[in-house]
Amino acid sequence: MGAFLLRRLLTAIPTLFVIVTLGFLLLHAAPGGPFDGEKAMLPEIRASIEAAYHLEEPLPLQYLRYLGQLARGDFGPSFQYRDTSVNELIAQGLPIDLTIGGLALLLALLMGIPLGVVAAAKRDTVWDRIGVAFSLLGISIPVYVTAPVLVLVFAVGLRWLPAGDWGGGAWRNLVLPVVALSLPYIAYVARILRASLADVLHAPYIRTARAKGLPWRTVILRHALKPALLPLVSFLGPAAVGVITGSIVIETTFGLPGIGRFFVDGAFNRDYTLVMGVTVLYGVLIVAANLVADICYAWLDPRVRLE
């Protein structure tokens, strides 16, 4: 187990290095500079601004400088938020995304697993149909429709909840974004679990368990659920990163100060350091999430060994 972890962590280093290099090159290859604004600048002023950010240096030098900074854990100063460092922006945005994304994922599992189990266990009954219909809706109606509808019903119409804002993480402010973000994931979880559980339920050892006279409930919860979770785990690894790194739609609709907006605004504004910082962070999160998924796999499936 220890050797496995060490090996995985060591292979993560070249992966991240490739991400950093590609990101850096792509970003600098994009036309338009961070200080091309609506208003023209005196060439001298442009030069002094570019010098302040070392943009006048040759690209290889900028790249080495960036790598050096990165090795010290410093993402550098943001270009668009001129008196703030990228580290500060990430430190501010990440807890918000972790809260919203973590809760949404939790909700997705709490709702999706029972829905999937019921649908698989009561196959071709009305419960199954309801579950399938719900998950189809959840998958096919995009967040940018559900989020404004939730706002209109619960904030504008009923005035039960605020229409947006982080509000320091108060539960009232969390409800709508978490629900909106989790809806498609509830649907995915339910669908995947329904399919895999249905497969497992046809396995010989389930028939044996049934033949021994075990009740359905025990068969499903004790014997069938654990192996049926395998496809879900491989889905959840990347999905967790997707949920946690925030949905730009959710952040924009609810005015949440998360990282997703920084990332998109940063790309549009050629905020090289900010985009690089978030890219590296996403890279690390994805590597970590896949690692966790692999560990879960081994725990769930005795045939998989972490060697």
Binding site: A30, P31, G32, G33, P34, F35, D36, G37, E38, K39, A40, M41, L42, E44, I45, S48, I49, A51, A52, P77, Q80, Y81, R82, D83, T84, Q92, G93, P142, Y144, V145, A147, P148, V149, V151, L152, V153, A155, V156, G157, R159, P162, A163, G164, D165, W166, V249, E251, T252, T253, F254, G255, L256, P257, G258, R261, F262, D265, F268, N269, R270
Partner: protein, 543 residues
């Protein structure tokens, strides 16, 4: 993202229409109006998070909204958008208009209690103009003696035309009479700065807890991309007239989300709304929809050195063939004003319009076709143009497509559209890659010069590269005269010359649009669209 917006919009309109039928009228005002008024807390929306609260570095409109509350210059903006005394209680202007002496009030203080002196202004201005600060607004100091040279690093900062006479007297020397100088001084880049704080804190000086400011409000809390909260500054010299205790600014870029937050009662003032929403907003919100002429213009520029735009006849024909009234009425829902001149009309200046502005559409189109024929284009050899613009809101794209259709229909011109990302478009336009391009401009101060100087040969924003010796001499004459009436008449001549030479096609003048709760008092709407919170109040009408 475009699809996203139209979808959410459709849903919003639908639901707003449904909710309207089963909610009592006036519910949009909400039963909590009295409660809101009593709270002393104003909640405003801005279009994006402040990029920095450093007055030397800030450039964007949302940040200006905050800085208008946090800092105060020698002069400030009143509710009607006029210049009012700020830290300077009074001033004298020399006969030639070149030397201004400002007398600072004795009771002006920093938020930490330090007395505010002329030295703080000298420090702030020199810091902004210093190339080492790398301020995009260093050029704003060009009217000061040596301003341009200091900004460009050709002269030392000490050469800036600025002198601290004593603790409460500041003398400013200008390179030419600048009638709009007092207006210029209301902008935050002319704010005083607290030197000890900046020296001690470095780039952290703008953080909550560190920021020392001198305006009606102080910074209480700041979450980037989240809420920014300001509290009344009790040490502000005019604190007695500041009626709102707390102001929170919410950065929200999505127009549908802004409207939803307003309707939900979470926000008292928005900085805009979708053009397409105007009909149901007017119906449901009535007087809460606030429109006012805004000192800005949308044009299509033409690079006068690039064929076919090097032919004046071609430029005139393209301009004449655009039916502005149709664009404004049908596509822009009457929210903007059709433009034929280059300076948006305001009190104090009546623009010079081309003669054909009053012609019928048929007559204009016929004349435009004649001009094209003179330039050698006809049905067999149609004019081909490429209209460059940025990926933008659906509103603007529809507008550009309509203009292209008008050229096709009225002149038989072949039009292709060239769309690129904002930063790419800006860069390409700057290096002269585009022949025919989108060009919008918001005035920096209330004077025709802010628009006319766009066509000055040396101006970096002269994207058409228009160069006319007569235009230059008119601008030079206007800048050097101290006589205001004469100045305006020269500006009209210069504008008439632009009408004739047509380096750009004026399309429409902007209007500002806001949603403002009825219990927010003092919101007059003004041509610069600046509404500092200190001019506002909550509750029924005092003044």
């Amino acid at each position: 993202m475009r699809f996203l917006r139209s979808c959410s919009l459709a849903v919003m309109v639908l639901l707003a229409a449904c909710s309207q039928t089963n909610s009592p009228s006036g519910s949009a005002v909400g039963p909590d109006a009295a409660e809101r008024a009593a709270s002393g807390h104003l909640r405003r929306q801005i279009d994006s998070a402040p990029r920095t609260l450093d007055p030397s570095l800030a450039t964007d409109v949302p940040t200006q909204r905050l800085l208008d509350d946090l800092f105060e210059g020698l002069t400030r903006i009143d509710g009607a958008g006029n210049v009012a005394p700020g830290v300077a209680a009074s001033w004298d202007r020399s006969a030639d208009g070149l030397t201004w002496t400002f007398h600072l009030r004795g009771d002006a203080h920093w938020s930490n209690g330090d007395p505010l002196t002329a030295q703080d202004f000298a420090y702030g201005w020199r810091r902004t103009v210093d190339p080492a600060t790398a301020s995009e607004y260093a050029q704003a100091f060009a009217p000061l003696r040596n301003g341009q040279d200091v900004a460009a690093g050709r002269k030392p900062v000490a050469a800036l035309g600025l002198q601290v006479v004593d603790a409460h007297t500041l003398r400013v020397e200008l390179g030419s009479p600048t009638p709009f100088f007092l207006y210029l001084l209301t902008n935050s880049y002319f704010s005083p700065l607290h030197e000890p704080t900046i020296r001690a804190r470095g780039t952290d000086w703008t953080r909550p807890g560190n920021l020392v400011s001198n305006g009606p409000y102080v910074l209480k809390d700041l979450v980037i991309n989240g809420a920014v909260t300001l509290a009344k500054n009790d040490r502000y010299w005019d604190a007695g007239h500041v009626r709102i205790d707390t102001v929170t600014f919410y950065p929200l870029s999505d127009r549908s989300a802004q409207t939803a937050r307003f309707l939900a009662g979470d926000i008292d003032v928005t900085d805009g709304f979708n053009i397409d929403d105007i009909d149901w907003l007017r119906r449901d919100l009535g007087a809460q929809v606030r429109l006012a002429p805004y000192f800005g213009i949308v044009m299509l520029g033409m690079h006068v050195e690039t064929p076919p735009y090097d032919r004046k006849a071609v430029r005139q024909a393209l301009s004449m063939a655009v039916d502005r009234e149709i664009l404004v009425d049908k596509l822009l829902k009457g929210l903007f004003l059709p433009a034929y001149g280059f300076v948006p009309p305001y009190e104090g200046y009546s623009p010079a319009l081309p003669e054909w502005a009053s012609w019928s559409a048929e007559r204009r189109h016929a004349r435009a076709r004649e001009l094209l024929a003179v330039a050698g284009y006809d049905a067999k050899h149609p004019l081909q143009v490429e209209l460059a613009h940025m990926i933008t809101s659906p509103d603007s794209r529809r507008l550009l497509e309509a203009i292209a259709a008008m050229w096709r229909m009225n002149l038989g011109v072949k039009v292709t559209m060239n769309m690129s990302e904002w930063r790419v478009f800006i860069q390409d336009r700057r290096i002269g890659k585009h022949g025919l391009f989108w060009h919008a401009w918001i005035g920096d101060y209330l004077d025709p010069y802010t628009f006319l100087s766009l066509f000055s040969k040396e101006d970096g924003n002269n994207h058409p590269r228009y160069a006319s010796p007569r235009f230059e001499s008119l601008l030079g004459e206007a800048v050097s005269t101290g006589d205001d009436a004469r100045r305006m008449s020269i500006f009209r001549q210069a504008e008439a010359l632009l009408d004739e030479d047509a380096p750009s096609i004026p399309i429409y003048y902007y209007q500002s649009r806001h949603l403002v709760r009825p219990y927010v008092g003092g919101w007059l709407g003004n041509v610069m669209d600046r509404n500092p919170s200190r001019n506002l109040w909550l509750g029924a009408g005092e003044d």
